[in-house]
Symmetry: D2
Subunit: 277 residues, 4 copies
Amino acid sequence: MTRVLNVECPDKLGLVHVITGILLSEGLNIVENQEFVDRGSQRFFMRTEVEGYVNEPRVVDRVRTAIGEGAIVNFAPLEPKRVVILVSKEHHCLGDLLIRNQFAELNSTVVAVVSNHESLRAFVESFKVPFHFVPAEGLSREGHEEALLKVLGSHEVDFLVLAKYMRILSPGFVKKFERRIVNIPHSFLPAFIGAKPYQQAYERGVKVIGATAHFVTDALDQGPIIVQQVIPVHHSHSAQDLAAAGRDVEQIVLARALKLVFEDRVFLSGNRTIIFD
Amino acid sequence: MTRVLNVECPDKLGLVHVITGILLSEGLNIVENQEFVDRGSQRFFMRTEVEGYVNEPRVVDRVRTAIGEGAIVNFAPLEPKRVVILVSKEHHCLGDLLIRNQFAELNSTVVAVVSNHESLRAFVESFKVPFHFVPAEGLSREGHEEALLKVLGSHEVDFLVLAKYMRILSPGFVKKFERRIVNIPHSFLPAFIGAKPYQQAYERGVKVIGATAHFVTDALDQGPIIVQQVIPVHHSHSAQDLAAAGRDVEQIVLARALKLVFEDRVFLSGNRTIIFD
Amino acid sequence: MTRVLNVECPDKLGLVHVITGILLSEGLNIVENQEFVDRGSQRFFMRTEVEGYVNEPRVVDRVRTAIGEGAIVNFAPLEPKRVVILVSKEHHCLGDLLIRNQFAELNSTVVAVVSNHESLRAFVESFKVPFHFVPAEGLSREGHEEALLKVLGSHEVDFLVLAKYMRILSPGFVKKFERRIVNIPHSFLPAFIGAKPYQQAYERGVKVIGATAHFVTDALDQGPIIVQQVIPVHHSHSAQDLAAAGRDVEQIVLARALKLVFEDRVFLSGNRTIIFD
Amino acid sequence: MTRVLNVECPDKLGLVHVITGILLSEGLNIVENQEFVDRGSQRFFMRTEVEGYVNEPRVVDRVRTAIGEGAIVNFAPLEPKRVVILVSKEHHCLGDLLIRNQFAELNSTVVAVVSNHESLRAFVESFKVPFHFVPAEGLSREGHEEALLKVLGSHEVDFLVLAKYMRILSPGFVKKFERRIVNIPHSFLPAFIGAKPYQQAYERGVKVIGATAHFVTDALDQGPIIVQQVIPVHHSHSAQDLAAAGRDVEQIVLARALKLVFEDRVFLSGNRTIIFD
């Protein structure tokens, strides 16, 4: 079995040498190694897959000490990520994730699905996954998020996945799950932001439909992009056809993004992702 | 040899029957036929490829009379389209088109290249294509366009191709070449409009780079889309790499769009294209 | 609501005129119409979407009589196609289809799933779809297919979908479901035929992984192709990674192919498909 | 300015540490670094981009000595690669490369074009690139290759590019340019090997057309793959249309492959390529 060491810090001379020296002295063989220095932010990123017995706390401590201030050092956990999926009424991304969850394809466990509607309860429960209805109607945003946090508090959660969750989360809420919320917005960013994106796309006569999975930050739908993809469409496709094409590409893009995130292959450098695939 | 009849008119009952009846009575066999009714505009579009001897004026006249008011009826000309390419300093789209022109791949003849810079003169002339330098510096937009029109007036021109022409054409100028200007804007519409699109894309951390070929209308870079395509990029690509990727996809997209346009496969329905490929 | 008329026959002069004349006299408006004459086989194909009240038997009869011998004329049924999915042990295509079935996305109803293994029973039954275990072990091919036919006989079946069914069907069996079996073979045709395609692909160092959905004919994995697609891979992907990529693209390709087939958009011309998308 | 160090050797413990230690002691900062251990061949590959003054012979010598037997160590040359393009009668890949050559886009210089036909002479010479006609007719393969080698001997050549060269090179010839011949075969490997691939593809009714750029080895068209890509086609495309689509994708794929090769981003591990893009 291999383990994955992830390191992130301000760039300086000799980092690879120092880190690999520690790994060598620990008797670990490097199977695959990728580093990247983001020239804009002058930050160093490294993902190293090693073979051999890993004394995790000792290695992490040695690397941290060697690098000094600002080092983020950790081994990717052996356990699957614990995930809560938030949805509204659309099932396509959710369904694909529940199947992949059932067959353990994404290095994660869906511990619960939360929705502001009741309509997908039976569907979710048929997969033996807990479903929580957290209504938003008649509540202030604060009120609703409070209820949401209470439900989330009843589970141990590593990541939130917004699988067509049609509500905007407040900055305060987002802060609580910094770098741990993945979204596939109901618009194919960065092209058509806002409501009715498929009607906009139809009227514009687009020839491709795309989807973007990204981390959620305060800036609505402007967080770091993880995966983007498009599929071709043509003039005889109605706005409904475009929406169906959009659902298909969203399903693919979200699954791909979560695979990368949950395998600890995605780093953040400011508003950009560094992905060691 | 086959001929292509194109018909466009307000939709009504029996159009296909009437038109094919005329073709039948003219002894013409339909090889391929595509119709489309655009539900938004309630317009009818038909492209019919026929075999047999075509009495062109008589067929067109009979179809026009049968359909009545508002009919646009014509046979695709047998002659290649006469094209002027407008460029600024970038050569990638231009070079690809000059090669395709030399080997007669696009059902067109490049009768001249016009630029607001001198830098591509030798390159263009090595293809034995006339090059006209029409400087813009120090001139008002009107003054420059006047000079442009004078040069264009010295050629018989069916289409203008803006192959990275970095100047905005006035509505008056565009009107003179309505539906006859194809552009591949220096931004990958509809995502990043404006200056320095690749720097914007880099900072946004996009995972695909796209290009859009479209007809030019008064609305800057918002005219009917002909072809759109993307190519994948990743975090280690600099803004310069993204620009290189962009040039490659622009070159492909523009050649593809011009092939469709010059083979009379593209109809316009409001701001949308109907493409019978 | 619109209805779809499909016509197929040997090509001759005036077919479109005759057929549209009948539709016109029946008071039907043509919304979308596509014809294609396959030059190799000299066969004519036409898909016409009409609005208005359709007297189905009368229209079909009139068109058939008008065309004469060899005409295949029918309206696409209003009812969803009745489908049996055959699987072995892999769940990825099956799972996607069961979700799409549950939300009625493919103009079809999965009436049963049949497998030569028991392992997917609980999964299938959680979708409230009947599961039949038809073991093959210890049986001759004839014996197994007899058992299969018995199970299929207990359902009304329009189409069989081989969603990673790892057994070869006999020509006799295939004949019983001519043009009604869709397969996504366990190899990315037409590249690597046979066993262990992903190991072959890995050793060959391929840069794309593809999938092909096709109709089943006597020629193993050589039937008419409906949809083909590829996804990029690279050197750091193991044979297992390639297999995972293959599963993802198979899932997409099969769903896309079934949508086209079940919406009566796919015609067969010899070993080629004509697809009016 | 940065320099690129490439290292290849049998895998063993501590390689990255040793190499980066030498770079550190030479005062070189690592800008980007990629390693990969090919599990099948147990070979180690590393591409390191460094900043700072490089004493090239000393660094290479230190790294070689440190690694020991079997080490292949070198800095990517600063000079563009010297390239001879071999063609037969098709111009599409050639034309694209000559344009990119003229604008110095591929880190290479085309020192000559060689053909077994005269037909492209004027085209090549219009780019001010020497053209050599080396006829094959009436000669044995040995005789022709002798003539070819004589012409090649008159230039200093780093790489041969077979840009639709329709002759098979002998193992002896290939050996003289081991790992230094790139081909884009006249068939879209690995699907349709042999003559008339587009007719084969048409009859098979394929839905994608692909192209493969690879290094040439003794095994005809089976050498290590560098780039593969496909483009979608459909039933109304004739074999000629498929061929045109094929030319477009070949042009793209070959340019992309040469960019990677000439920027020293491609390593060979047995019959697979390791590409640090």
